[in-house]
């Protein structure tokens, strides 16, 4: 929308004021399923950040140099999702080859990520907001960081919640959602600082 926004502002905004999870509700499924344990949350957060940064950049290039010149924007959904799936698959193979140790901690989360809404969501936001390449990179990286931050914070809170007396019907996803609600409320506090959308 406003191509003149400074990349650093986008970075800050995508981590705090318009956190992709807490204000745009993206990536909730794996978020709720995984957030019970600190270690996997960390791994998934890292994986999301890496994949988001890479795929949003590739999708930007594909859109700019293939889809727009050929007037194929109607098919962007299929193209974006295929690019994401292919990138994740290649990343998995490369990591497996280069560092088996990293594969053990990161690799198991990669298949989950293909269907993580945050990845596709970031690509679509990038397209709608008309970011240039540098802005796209910082936006992807910042969104990933924001997601990582949110899942780590939630995993830490969940640890305390397990020791609290929660009504039977609210246990599990119910209390998780309420917790996320409070976190989102805290992040709303940041929104006075700057507003990008």
């Amino acid at each position: 929308m406003a191509p003149q926004i400074h990349p650093l502002v986008i970075l800050f905004a995508s981590v705090f004021t318009s956190n992709i999870l807490l204000t745009n509700f993206l990536g909730m499924c794996s978020f709720i399923a995984i957030s019970k344990d600190m270690k996997s949350s960390n791994g998934l957060g890292l994986a999301v950040t890496v994949v988001l940064t890479i795929t949003v950049a590739i999708n930007w290039a594909v859109m700019r140099y293939i889809l727009v010149p050929l007037d194929l924007m109607v098919y962007r959904y299929i193209v974006f999702i295929v690019v994401i799936a292919a990138t994740v698959q290649m990343l998995e193979m490369i990591i497996d080859r280069v560092s088996p140790a990293l594969y053990m901690s990161l690799g198991i989360f990669l298949p989950l990520i293909t269907v993580n809404c945050a990845i596709l969501g970031a690509a679509l936001f990038m397209q709608i907001r008309n970011y240039n390449f540098i802005q796209t990179l910082t936006f992807g990286f910042g969104s990933g960081l924001g997601w990582w931050l949110a899942i780590l914070a939630l995993a830490a809170i969940q640890k305390k919640v397990t020791r609290a007396p929660v009504p039977a019907g609210l246990q599990g996803p119910g209390i998780t959602l309420i917790t996320i609600g409070f976190m989102a409320l805290a992040f709303v506090g940041f929104s006075g600082m700057l507003n990008v959308q």
């Binding site: 993206l26 295929v82 039977a168 609210l170 998780t176 959602l177 309420i178 609600g181």
Partner: protein, 204 residues
């Protein structure tokens, strides 16, 4: 659990209540929770989800013998994306305002876990017509929950329903209701209520 023997009636009951995709499986809230601040948007969005779930289920089921197991995830994704593109084109042609308001969220139906989940869990192992029914009813179960959230959010957040002013001009809007946190709170509370009823029924 043998799903092959489920009659259309049991499937309906399961998808609307006992196995409701949102209450029990917590699937697919990613893309749609974001548009629950206006009832009209929610109705359009969930109708689109019903359409895509039903048709992608029937397609996956009809093609299940032809798709090699190794590539079935990507094949399913492409089938889903195909229907989402249809939805996107139709919305842009006939409801341009709503299409603008929904923004990227229409495209995000592709990654809505509920659609993939039904394709994987039901359509892979069941005949096409039953899969279509399963997709439509899951979508309806999903719609029910989100419409409740949207009604509460729009009513309290803007004092209106479908854009018509319900409360008088003196009504103070609950600003929190149009902000993202309220969607989380409402969904949490709804799940709480539904689960409590289910637990009571089980105990009785």
């Amino acid at each position: 659990m043998n799903q092959m023997t489920d009659s259309p009636r049991t499937i309906l009951k399961k998808n609307l209540w006992t196995d409701n995709p949102i209450f029990v499986q917590i699937l697919g809230i990613c893309s749609t929770l974001a548009v629950t601040n206006k009832l009209a948007n929610t109705l359009i969005m969930t109708a689109a989800v019903i359409f895509v779930t039903g048709l992608s289920n029937i397609t996956v089921s009809a093609l299940k013998g032809l798709i090699p197991r190794k590539v079935r995830m990507i094949a399913q994704t492409i089938i889903i994306a195909f229907y989402v593109i249809i939805v996107d084109i139709v919305l842009r042609a006939y409801l341009p305002d709503i299409s603008k308001a929904l923004g990227p969220y229409v495209g995000l139906i592709i990654t809505n876990c509920i659609i993939m989940g039904r394709a994987e869990a039901f359509a892979q192992a069941n005949p096409p017509m039953l899969s279509l029914w399963d997709g439509l009813t899951s979508g309806a179960g999903y719609m029910g929950v989100l419409v409740i959230i949207a009604v509460v959010r729009e009513l309290l957040g803007s004092g209106s329903l479908l854009g018509f002013q319900v409360f008088g001009p003196n009504f103070t809007n609950w600003t929190i209701m149009v902000m993202p946190p309220s969607a989380f709170f409402l969904l949490g509370a709804l799940i709480w209520g539904a689960k409590t009823i289910m637990i009571k029924k089980e105990a009785a």
